[in-house]
Amino acid sequence: MATATKEPRGAVPHPDLTQLDQVNRDVLKTLGKPGLVWWLMLGLCIAGIGMLGVSWGIQIVQGIGVTGLTSPVGWGVYITTFVFWVGIAHSGTLISAILFLFRAPWRQSIYRAAEAMTVFAVMTAGLFPLIHVGRVWHAYWLIPYPNSRFLWPNFRSPLVWDVFAVTTYFTVSATFFYLGTIPDLAAARDAANGFRKKLYKVISLGWRGTDREWHHFGKAYIFLAALATPLVLSVHSVVSWDFAVSIVPGWHATIFAPYFVAGAIFSGVAMVITLTVPIRKVFGLEAYLTTKHYDAMAKLCLLTSMIVFYAYLSEFFMAWYSGEEVERAAFWARLFGHYWWATWIMLVCNGLVPIMLWFKRVRYSIPALFTISIFVNIGMWFERYVIIVTSLHHEYEPFAWGVYRPSMVEMGIMVGSFAWFGFWFLLFTRLIPVVAIAELKEVIPTPMRGAAPAHAGGEGGEG
């Protein structure tokens, strides 16, 4: 991507975009009246949320026992799905912040969708720690607040780190997201009328696009990006430490942090592809989300897939090379034990399928990418399932070994979480410009009456 940054403005992939206000017209029309399909999907999502609610209700009333969880497998589908969504949440900020700092010119048209995905994914992930605890009515004890008992949470516990990491990540990425939308909301305001105009008026904070606004906006944006970048890396590192700081064979590995971050970006980018392909079709944004973008994302997928696969292999190698009996047994069980199928799904989806991305033809074929991205999403969910469940079911104490089978309630909640995510994302597509209008204008040719001034070749993106 570093190569892409040095390309002169305009060489980037919007050859057929010349007019600045054309961008407004194209993008803002996505905010028009939603069609039947949209309503159907929204209904579906609401139904799904209903299922989530009911399942959770049953669990709260009867007890956590309605899950398939048992000893020794104390964590299962819930934590799996939690990690999955946190992972998904990563590519958003990655694309908007890191690629921004790297001046990757292909980010502008996708980062809005990616960031929205991030925010909603964290919102989804945030549900699971609550769903997962045995006494949810006491879950607030994890938050450090002055109370009548003089009690504080235990800051040595990775779960408390999680609380901080995830909430921080949510706050920052939500802020980042909102900040980026302000100028576009203003644009929407100027185009809209009636109720929507009032709405946008409020949420665009009276943005006018004056030099002063833009000046500070740009700086703030850079600093936020600079802060968000380490945050992205830290959040999934912290999540990985939930496992790495434990002594469970299969969890207790130093490679976990980078391995999880790579995995997160991998799944995140795949999810961006999965989400943007339909948007592109439905809203006819081919001019904005061009094959060049997908090529770039595919490359990112390929890279991270290789990192992740390397991590898998190195884990197996370390298990063998350490000669540590328990470790070896755990990984043997992972490959050929009770959960072999999950492991092989993971290896195929995350290691083998992405190999196709080496071929340019595949990278430039939207349907192919869409299919692969689906595979990757499935594979990454199973990666977490494998890490959590297979490690726990085959630990130190042979007499205590046991297996875990997810229950209907868990499945209901897991599926419901996708509905919950979808619900917010659908709202987003109709309320907020899915492509960053203002920033996109930076990468289409500047309207010049005369010859462009000598110094007009500077990089875009720098606000």
Binding site: Q19, F155, E213, K219, A220, S234, P453
Partner: protein, 176 residues
């Protein structure tokens, strides 16, 4: 300066706006507000901005967050000392995680505050001197000047043949 008047010109092209601004400034007319659909730094350069103070906010917020996070974790574990896993009451490495997260959080939040303060957001007054086109494709230059120099200013703006030229009797844009 109630008698001050303002003129708003909106341009199709960046360089028109840039030239207008440069000429105005050359003529000592400095009370300029530019409108852009996107951060066009040719214009910013023309207006001659230096570093934004927002970065100070970021730094301050970050430092406070980090320090606060560390102090808080340390305080809570000394407040009711309990040994877990044979670890020291003050398990510094664990607390680093918390203070890092706090640094990012407070850094980010204070950056936003800094931004809002510096760029006068949210903007609450009615948008008299504004053109919806500015969020679309046009570039606006708004100048306020004492009455005796108004014609000069108008001349310069006209010189870059604007799409539109609007007189503003109140000069609100610079009241903020």
């Amino acid at each position: 300066m109630s008698e001050t008047k303002g003129i708003l010109a909106s341009y199709e092209y960046v360089d028109s706006a840039v030239n207008a601004i440069e000429k105005l400034r050359a003529g000592g007319l400095k009370k300029i507000t530019a409108y852009m659909p996107y951060p066009e730094h040719l214009i910013e350069d023309a207006l001659g901005y230096d570093q934004s103070p927002v970065r100070v906010w970021t730094l301050a917020g970050g430092l406070c967050g980090a320090a606060g996070g560390f102090a808080f974790t340390a305080f809570t574990s000394m407040d009711w000392p309990l040994v877990t896993g044979g670890k020291p009451i003050l398990s510094m490495p664990a607390y680093v995680v918390i203070s890092f997260e706090m640094m990012v959080l407070f850094g980010a939040l204070s950056t936003i505050i800094g931004l809002f303060i510096n760029s006068r957001l949210p903007y609450l007054k009615p948008m008299v001197v504004y053109d919806p086109e500015f969020s679309g494709g046009r570039f606006g230059v708004y100048i306020t000047a004492p009455p005796e120099r108004l014609d000069e200013a108008r001349g310069i703006l006209q010189g870059q043949d604007p799409v539109e030229l609007r007189e503003d009797s109140a000069g609100v844009a610079h009241a903020s």
